[in-house]
Each structure stands twice: as structure tokens, then as C-alpha cells.
Symmetry: C2
């Protein structure tokens, strides 16, 4: 906890996301035509193949793990808000921007602190495909 | 939209989650020892192998797709709150309980409505491993 301060910015990426990866995730977790089939996707809400929002969230987690140097690992205490302003498209690349917005000791656990982070997951054009406010459980340094 | 009403309950499941599935998801999206290795996991925060919260969220989406009969598909307009009160463990089974908490026309899009759903993802012991409040974009029936 002691290594974090409000206003710190972390950036990481890019990672590339293929059509095959979008379809493989969707077949397992979100098997709907706009996530699994280019042809069928054209006449849907998304007007073409788009990644499941939960795939975007999963990819964002892989970037968070790269970005945040937390002893004992990145452990989520919950998410306050999660939005997908634009869909993630095949062949796009993702970057993460994370900003620390709160740092405080846990109210109930003596050796723990809480770090609140606002993340923005950006596509190649710099548009947000996901925004999130998440709470992380972090260890405190012994006094 | 017209098919939904506040108070409707949807239940679906169970699906079984293996240690291999937990590790396969984690290697791709959340490669931390407590999600990828039984031995190393013992001395961590989770005291044993536990699924990534984003894996639990992905599995929950697969249950939501089964549970909710929405013309045009289940399309997420965002999540208000997402919590993981307990970790999902290998060999456990998940069930979903979803309750409709709000139904209203879209303020900006003529043919669309918004359905707010509270989901609880339960393990075999009936404990919540995830709670979520999500907004879904649904089509309206022509007048």
C-alpha cells in the first residue's frame, strides 16, 4: 500500500486481438452470433464481429497484471463501475491506462490496504473500449 | 422490453468448473500463481487454487446467455457493481439467479429499452461467489 499514491499513472500494452481469439473466447463464455460469426454478425446490433465485453474485461485484467507491481499479486476487492463505450474489433490492439484514485488502510483487516484504480482500455485509434473503477486489496508494510 | 417485468426471477445451471479450466483461463488472462498452480497457491491470500474473478464473471455470462430470452441477443450496457464475496474453487458447480430490478424505455434511442438485472452466482454450497448489477440493452416491440 505504501508504494501507491493518488494520481500515479500506469500504462502498458499494446496487445493484439485476432478474430480467432474473439471467437474462441465467445464459444466458451458468450456464444452469441455477433461474437462468433463474421457473416451473421453483420445484421446484428454490432454490425460486424465484436468481442464480448467480458473478453475485453479479461484482456484488460491481463494488462492490469502487467502494469501494477503489487507484492502478493493483484487481488480484486470488487468493481464499482464497468462500461464498454465501443466494441473491440478483430485485429485491433489494446493499451491500458490506469490511474490511482484512492489509497487507504483497510477498515477491518490490520495488514491490508485498499487501492482504488480507474482504468481505461484503449484501441489503436485511442478510443476507450472499456472504462472501469476497481478496488484492489494490497498488503501493508509492517510498521 | 415488453416481455420483462420487475421482480421476474431467472435461474439456470449448474455448470461444473475443473482445476484445468481455472488454470487455462488464468494462463491466458490472469497469470498469477494463486490461479495457475495448486502448490504455489497454498501460501497465498487464497490459501489454495482459486479462479480469477474475471473467470467467474465469464462463466456467469455463459449462464446469463442461457437464462435470458432476449430477441437480438444479450447486449451489456454496462455494470454498476461487481463483487466476488468468495473465490470459486476447482470442482465446484455454479448456478445463476437473476432478478429483474428495473425495466424502462431508452432515453435516447427510440426502439430500445433498458433492463437492469441483479445476478447472484452461487457455488454448490449455496454461497455467492459473485454478485452483479448489470444494465442490458433490449429491443422494444413496434407500437
Amino acid at each position: 500500500m505504501e508504494d501507491f499514491a493518488v494520481g500515479q499513472i500506469y500504462t502498458v500494452g499494446p496487445i493484439r486481438v485476432s478474430a480467432d481469439a474473439i471467437k474462441a473466447y465467445a464459444r466458451q463464455f458468450d456464444p452469441q452470433p455477433f461474437h462468433t460469426d463474421e457473416e451473421l454478425a453483420r445484421s446484428t446490433f454490432f454490425q460486424g464481429l465484436a468481442a464480448s465485453g467480458w473478453h475485453t474485461a479479461s484482456l484488460t485484467m491481463s494488462l492490469v497484471v502487467q502494469a501494477l507491481p503489487i507484492a502478493g499479486g493483484v487481488i480484486g476487492g470488487g468493481v464499482e463501475e464497468l462500461r464498454w463505450p465501443k466494441p473491440l474489433r478483430p485485429g485491433d490492439e489494446l493499451r491500458l491506462e490506469g490511474e490511482i484514485v484512492e489509497v487507504r488502510p483497510s477498515r477491518s483487516k490490520l495488514g491490508q490496504g485498499l487501492v482504488r484504480v480507474r482504468t481505461t482500455t484503449l484501441n489503436r485509434a485511442g478510443e476507450a473500449v472499456q472504462t472501469m473503477i476497481a478496488n484492489l486489496i494490497v498488503p501493508r508494510r509492517p510498521a
